[in-house]
């Protein structure tokens, strides 16, 4: 690999890393043809982990970090002084194919700064995907960032080649967008999401291929004053209205060359983690956004306990729940029991009556769960009514910095 390409790769990978999504999941299962390259597994594969604990699954790069927009939270905004670079379409294709052959990656996640025009940029990104699929028989995963300001037909063409399309909302309210991302408009973004969502569901119904792994988005946490309950309400709306597969939460992270409007600060990682858990409540535990809001204190999720536990502590009258009798929906609300544990409980109790020991083999969250459940040989007793239960179950304050 020559040095110029390596230099570009360093700049354009650095510029792309603030996008949280790296998932390679949900694509239809494919395998390589005779002369083709690549396959998809359904669940996706993380090929490495960086010391920030995040998975490296896709080659996540920008086509270019030149950008006409001036979003203050973004390291690539036009008023930033970072070094700029631009890949040619063929360079991205080569990097993807050669990295893939060495089993470094599952595929490509391509995004870009806006150059010349949104349409031109979108065309170039689609061209990369098209060349990979056409010229190299590439059957690995392709995630394209779509540009909401680009013409609809270009975004729709991208969906023919990509496994997933995404549009980043970045800021959950129109007011924050106006202040921090002056060229963007919430209405434009959501219109584009709606259109993609509609195309995806039509194509599924008509058994055509169009962004089969769905669409996702990202919102930045901690760059504006939006509280957690508003954030989750927004997510519930995005899942409901546009059929999103995922909403990613990205703690606002200090960037080199930060803007005056948004000075650098330590990223609120714990808050981001709690938002993911709350999001999980929406998607897997069948909570509604108002119920998640009940788990907050004045709109913010507690940092020392997980939101499902917070909800249960505020709704103690609904517990304890009998693991041998309760329905699935209620079992899912028990802190410390995940979907897998609940399914295993339901399966097992058809044949036997579960004791606490049995439950302990089905979940790793028994410490929390035991205060909220009844088993064949066990009742939680007085502790579950104690006022200091919360303190007992809270995680010890973690030291985030190592130094």
């Amino acid at each position: 690999m020559d040095e110029i390409l390596a230099k570009k790769l360093r700049i354009l990978a650095d510029a792309a890393k603030y996008d949280a999504s790296c998932a390679s999941s949900n694509a239809p299962k494919r395998s390589a043809g005779k002369d083709g390259l690549g396959s998809t597994t359904g669940a996706g594969i993380c090929h490495a982990y960086t010391p920030d604990g995040r998975c490296v699954s896709l080659l996540k790069i920008l086509l270019t970090n030149y950008c006409l927009f001036d979003c203050v939270y973004c390291v690539n905004r036009r008023s930033s002084n970072v070094r700029r670079a631009r890949f040619s379409v063929d360079e991205v294709v080569t990097l993807t194919v050669e990295f893939y052959k060495r089993n470094y990656i599952e595929g490509l996640f391509l995004s870009s700064g806006i150059i010349r025009s949104p349409d031109y940029t979108m065309e170039q990104m689609t061209l990369v995907a098209k060349k990979l699929r056409r010229d190299h028989g590439f059957r690995g995963y392709i995630h394209l960032k779509s540009i909401p300001e680009a013409s609809p037909w270009l975004v729709e063409e991208a969906g023919l080649f990509a496994d997933r399309l995404s549009i980043n909302l970045e800021l959950p309210t129109e007011a924050s967008l106006a202040r921090l991302a002056p060229e963007k408009s919430g209405a434009t973004i959501e219109t584009a999401m709606g259109r993609i969502g509609e195309r995806i569901s039509q194509a599924r119904a008509e058994k055509r291929r169009f962004s089969p792994a769905g669409q996702s988005t990202q919102v930045i946490v901690g760059a504006d004053a939006t509280d957690d309950s508003a954030m989750i309400t927004k997510s519930a709306m995005l899942y409901g209205s546009y059929g999103l597969s995922r909403v990613y939460y990205s703690a606002f992270s200090p960037i080199p060359d930060a803007s005056v409007t948004l000075p650098p600060q330590a990223p609120p990682l714990k808050r981001e983690h709690r938002l993911y858990q709350a999001d999980w409540m929406l998607r897997y535990y069948k909570f509604t956004a108002p119920e998640v809001a009940e788990a907050t204190d004045g709109g913010m999720l507690a940092l020392d306990i997980d939101p499902k536990l917070a909800w249960a502590l505020k709704n103690r009258h609904l517990f304890p729940v009998d693991v041998n009798r309760a329905d699935r929906e209620m079992l899912l609300r028990v802190p410390g029991l995940g979907t897998r544990a609940v399914d295993a409980i339901i399966k097992a109790r058809r044949h036997t009556s579960l004791r606490l020991d049995d439950v302990s083999r089905l979940t790793s969250g028994l410490k929390r769960a035991r205060e909220f459940l009844v088993a064949e040989d066990y009742r939680p007793g007085a502790t579950s009514q104690r006022l200091d239960l919360r303190a007992k179950l809270a995680e010890p304050a973690q030291q985030l910095s190592l130094f």
Partner: protein, 464 residues
């Protein structure tokens, strides 16, 4: 006595015999070693009769056999024994200590397989063609055979070799062969793209989010020595705090370059400004359903008072690249002439711009576009009509109505002038000329044709 590694066949033979002989698990000692030959070929005898096992048990066995725990066969045999002694739903009871342990073992195998698929790194041995790659990997369990098909499905088009301390596997673009153990030294110690990969790994790391526990949980240290990128980890970790505090201390920066206002203004002006530009975009674009020869564009003068919108190009239209030139198109031209309209004076186009068909023998049989495809092409049609600026737009058939109205509208009930909603032109609905061709009965055909010509006359009057 079973052989080293994942001896599924040996375990199956032994189990069949033992169950048939009614030997309970506590009376068996499972031994693993290379001594199978001691018995001689004849001594490791016939299979017992096949067992009728619950499906879940049958599926679990091959997923636990590769485990490195020497107890694996004994545990599996106990499971099989209990299943044959009446506990057929045993695997559903995940809380049972035996089932729990086997589930954990299966999970460990799944994880080991997953990590092998994830963390194995190929290095190029020969530039080819065909290219040849090689890798060294140290799995925790006996999973080489189970892991290999994944690599075949993914890397079918080039040759590769995977070496492990227990055995090797080779793919020559056609067949998969298993061989003797390899050595780390048999794989070249570098690759032209490894430095680039390391660069990528370092650049994609965000020092402000350092979280070593999360990294180690997913990528335990034992895998590191065979992964080229991990060499950078100590330095990345050491420098992370400093890089982050520098970013925060350095604070906000004033931009050196000022806003390129002009470029931003130019950027918003990206929509096609003429019909030619729009047509160029349509021609460049992919057909939504693969197969069409070319996009068939609209035809006729800008400012034409009447625009006709058909369904989608047919076989002839697709080959010639012009709308309404097939049998239906010819009928349409004849009817227009009779109604006193000149084809050259009106604009004709289609709701969908690409031909869609199914092959029946050598014939390409027209296939109706789906609602999703129609809405996909709607953007272009709307733009196109904005440029042409007709006084009246005629929807020929249901697909055109769907495209113009954005929803399905029954044709027979709404035939005649129609308001498509929010459009700067009058609307009109009539049948598609191909409908006239399809009518089976000659008399009905003649009547329908007259009706169609009448509609065209009315349209001519409305546009005048």
């Amino acid at each position: 006595m079973l052989s080293e590694g994942a001896d599924l066949a040996g375990f199956r033979r032994a189990t069949r015999r033992l169950v048939a002989a009614g030997v309970p698990p506590e009376r068996i000692v499972w031994e693993i070693g290379e001594a199978t030959s001691l018995f001689g070929a004849g001594a490791d005898p016939s299979d017992g009769p096949p067992l009728q096992l619950p499906r879940a048990v049958g599926e679990l066995i091959p997923m636990v056999v590769p485990h490195s725990d020497p107890e694996r066969y004994a545990l599996l045999y106990t499971l099989i024994w209990r299943a044959t002694q009446g506990e057929r739903a045993l695997l559903d009871v995940a809380s049972d200590p035996l089932v729990h342990r086997l589930h954990l073992m299966r999970k460990a195998i799944g994880r080991d397989l997953h990590k092998m698929h994830a963390f194995l790194r190929f290095r190029r041995v020969e530039a080819g063609p065909p290219e040849r790659f090689a890798a060294w990997f140290e799995p925790e369990h006996h999973i080489l055979e189970a892991a290999a098909p994944f690599f075949v499905e993914r890397f079918r088009s080039f040759a590769w070799t995977i070496l492990t301390p227990e055995g090797s596997v080779h793919w020559d673009t056609d067949t998969l062969r298993f061989g003797p153990p390899g050595r780390r030294e048999d794989v070249p110690d570098g690759d032209g793209f490894e430095a680039g990969w390391r660069d990528y790994y370092e650049s994609t790391f965000n020092p402000a989010r350092l979280n070593l526990d999360a990294m180690r949980a997913e990528m335990p240290k034992k895998y590191w020595r065979n992964m080229p990128e991990t060499a950078a980890i100590p330095r990345l970790v050491r420098d992370a705090a400093m890089r982050t505090s520098q970013m925060i201390e350095r604070g906000p920066q004033m931009p050196v370059k000022r806003d390129p206002v002009k470029a931003v203004a130019a950027m918003s002006d990206q929509n096609p400004t003429s019909l030619d530009e729009l047509n160029a975009i349509i021609q460049r674009s992919e057909p939504l359903v693969p197969g069409a020869t070319q996009a068939v564009l609209g035809e006729g003068p800008i400012g034409a008072p009447i625009a006709f919108v058909g369904e989608q190009p047919g076989d002839q239209e697709d080959l010639q690249g012009r709308p309404f030139v097939g049998p239906a198109g010819q009928l349409f031209s004849r009817a227009m002439e009779q109604a006193g309209l000149t084809r050259g004076d009106v604009y004709v186009t289609n709701a969908v711009k690409h031909f869609k068909f199914t092959l029946r023998g050598k014939r390409r049989i027209h296939e109706k576009p789906t609602a999703g495809e129609v809405s996909h092409y709607r953007w272009w049609l709307d733009r196109e009509l904005e440029f042409v600026q007709p006084k009246i737009v005629v929807a020929l058939g249901a697909t055109a109505v769907l495209a113009l109205a954005g929803k399905a509208v029954p044709i027979t009930r709404n035939r005649g002038p129609f308001e498509f909603g929010g459009k700067p032109f009058q609307g009109f609905i009539t049948v598609h000329p191909s409908y006239l061709l399809r009518l089976p009965d000659e008399e009905a055909k003649a009547m329908a044709y007259e009706g169609f010509v009448d509609d065209l006359r009315r349209i001519g009057d409305l546009a005048a």
